[in-house]
Symmetry: C5
Subunit: 88 residues, 5 copies
C-alpha cells in the first residue's frame, strides 16, 4: 500500500459501466521521497485533505469484492497516524 493524500475529485460522465456510482478521487503519494498523482476509487468515505492507504493493481479489484470492475487503484483505509522516521 502507499501512503497518499486526497487532493481532489474527477468527474467522467462517459465511462466503462462498472465505474458507475464509484467515487473517483485524485490522490498524491505523500511519503516525501516519491511523487506522483493517481485516481483511486474510494471505499471508505475519505475526504479531501485526508491521508489514506491506497492499493494498486489486481488488489484494487479485490477490495471491491468483485473481479470484473475496471478499477486498478482503491482507497482502502483512512490513516489516523503514521509513526515512522522521516515521515511527518
Amino acid at each position: 500500500m502507499e501512503i497518499c493524500k486526497v487532493i481532489g475529485h474527477v468527474w467522467a460522465t462517459k465511462k466503462e459501466s462498472t465505474l458507475s456510482g464509484l467515487k473517483l478521487m485524485v490522490v498524491r503519494r505523500d511519503t516525501g521521497a516519491e511523487d506522483g498523482v493517481l485516481v483511486a476509487a474510494d471505499i471508505v468515505g475519505a475526504g479531501i485533505g485526508e491521508r489514506v492507504l491506497v492499493v494498486s493493481g489486481s488488489t484494487a479489484r479485490k477490495a471491491f469484492g468483485r473481479d470484473d470492475i475496471a478499477v486498478d487503484a482503491a482507497i482502502v483505509g483512512i490513516i489516523d497516524s503514521v509513526e515512522a522516521e522521516g515521515i511527518n
Copy 2:
C-alpha cells in the same frame, strides 16, 4: 487509474489476433509530476486532445469483459473535469 491526455494513434497491421478491431491510442500521463507515453485500447470513444482515465495491468483486460485479450492498458473514461490542487 491515471489521468492521461490522448495525443494520437498507432497502426499495426501485423498483430496478435485478439487486438484486431481495437482502437489503439497514444496517451501521455497528464498530472504534472509524472511523464511518459503509453498505448491504450479505447473502449469509450475518446478523441485526440481529450483527458481520459487509463487503467493498466490485468484490469485493462477486465475492462473488456474478457480475460484472454492481449491488452495491458485501456481508456475507461472521458474526464469532464478534475478539481484537485496542483492539477489544471
Copy 3:
C-alpha cells in the same frame, strides 16, 4: 522481492474489512540505488529497524494464503544477512 528496512507503523481505524487485525508497517527500500516508502502487512513478526523481504502485487495476497484480502505488499521474511557487492 525487495530488500527493505522497517521504519514504523501506520494506524487506520476506518479501513476495508479484510485489513482488520493486520499489522501494517512502514518500510523503506534499502538497497542504496532505489528510494521509496511503502506500507506492508507483516506476517513474520518483524520489528522496527529490521531488514526484511517485501513482496508486492498479487503475490502479497498469496502470502496470506487467501486471495480476497486488500493487501498489495507483505513482509515475508526477516533478513539475517545479505552478502552482495554494493549492499551493506
Copy 4:
C-alpha cells in the same frame, strides 16, 4: 502497451522449460520521455530495428494463450505508423 524498438537478441541455453523455442528479443522503450531496456518474447515475427507494441505482466502470458508460461513481456504487434504529438 509500450512503444518499443527491437534492438537485439538474447540467448540462454539453460532456462526454465516453458521458454524453450521462444524468440527472446531485446527492446528499448522508444517514446522520448522514458528510457529502459527489457527482454520480450516475440509472437509476431518482429525484426531488428522495427517498432513494436510490447505488453507486460500477466497480459504477456495471455498473449501466448496459456497461463503457465514464464514470460512477463511479449511483442504483440509490429507498428506501421504512429501519429502523435511529440513522437517521431
Copy 5:
C-alpha cells in the same frame, strides 16, 4: 524479462513457509539505462557474476509451477550472450 547480474545472496531464517528451501539471490538490473537491486528466487542454478533473465510479478509464481508461493521475482534463464546495440 529483465537482464540482471547476480551479485549475491540473502539469508532469512524467519520467513513465510513457502519460501523454505528456495535459493534467494540478489540481482542488479544490468542494461545500462536502469538501476536497481532486487531479490529473486533461482530456479536454474545461477551463480554469482552471471547474467540472468528475471521475471517479475505473477509470472514469477508461474515459473515455479505453483500459484501459492510468496515469490514475486524469479531467475528463469542464464544468459549465454546478448547481441544488442548499447548493451555490452
